[in-house]
């Protein structure tokens, strides 16, 4: 669990905000508006992109070619965000995303990164023992499936396009999106029809 900030940190933040406000640089109102805007991004956006890619071959091609354009087509503003790349899982290859240096994450389409994504253990182990990390989610890749770990950076963000699970034949996009979670988009778990 993330520890709460220390009293020193809380006091520093308030001094910092007061200094910025006194100089007319950042107001409380701007902070509130920004928090509201940031809170709106969630993994549901990434899930809708995946569901559409599973049902619409043209969109799938766009998603794999230019994730940023594909996100914008879903109404997401990617202005100021680093490019988004999408990693396509196959019957023989699975992808896992990490940011070993910090916490780079496709926030516009997944929202805030979860605490574990930012943890030292995940950052250290995802590249050394990816199957061990996957096992902590109860994820076991079938025999013969390789795993490729991709390091997100400050300049390029990644998301996984998982394989459409068996048993979802005939499902519409909304229903498909409902089974796709943040963990599937990072690659620590695989979607299933159940």
């Amino acid at each position: 669990m993330a520890a709460p900030p220390t009293g020193d940190s809380i006091a520093l933040l308030e001094r910092f905000v007061a200094a910025l406000a006194a100089r007319g640089i950042v107001s409380e109102e701007e902070i509130a508006t920004q928090i509201e805007r940031t809170d709106r991004a969630s993994p549901e956006i990434g899930a809708r992109m995946v569901a559409r890619a599973w049902t619409d071959p043209a969109y799938r091609a766009l998603l794999l070619r230019d994730g940023t354009a594909a996100a914008e087509q879903m109404g997401v503003s990617m202005a100021g965000a680093p490019p988004l790349g999408v990693l396509e899982d196959s019957a023989t290859l699975h992808h896992l995303v990490v940011c070993t240096l910090c916490s780079c994450y496709p926030r516009m389409v997944l929202g805030y990164p979860p605490h574990w994504y930012k943890s030292a253990a995940y950052r250290a182990r995802a590249v050394r023992d990816p199957r061990g990390v996957l096992a902590e989610w109860g994820t076991v890749l079938p025999d013969g499936v390789g795993v490729r770990v991709v390091d997100s950076t400050a300049d390029y963000r990644w998301m996984v396009l998982p394989q459409r699970p068996a048993g979802t034949e005939g499902w519409d996009e909304t229903r498909l999106a409902s089974i796709v979670t943040r963990d599937h988009l990072v690659g620590v778990a695989l979607p299933s029809a159940a």
Binding site: S9, L13, Q34, T100, P114, K118, A124
Partner: protein, 98 residues
């Protein structure tokens, strides 16, 4: 003779120190009010052209190792961002002192 320098504090990929530390899948911990405020300020400063991601990274990655691991995620951000704003003269260094 291997004269590769040791990895920097933030360069945790494969770090042996954490090889046996479990990852807790249930540790969602969305940001608290403190984290959301720091994150919002970062975005506003970036939009106003006062802060780049590389500047923020420099401030985080320059933290001494013990402090880096002792501080929470958004506490590291705050140390970095507030220090850079003082360094650039956007605010006064004295503004941050208790």
């Amino acid at each position: 003779m291997d004269d590769t320098p040791p990895p920097a504090t933030h360069d945790l990929g494969g770090a042996p120190r954490f090889r046996c530390t479990p990852v807790d899948p249930d540790d969602e911990a969305p940001p608290d009010a403190f984290g959301k405020r720091v994150d919002a300020i970062r975005q506003i400063l970036a939009r106003k052209g006062l802060l780049t991601v590389d500047e923020m990274r420099r401030g985080i990655e320059a933290l001494p190792e013990a402090e880096y691991h002792a501080l929470g995620y958004y506490e590291r951000w705050l140390r970095s961002i507030s220090g850079i704003m003082a360094e650039k003269g956007v605010i006064g260094a004295e503004d941050l002192r208790p």
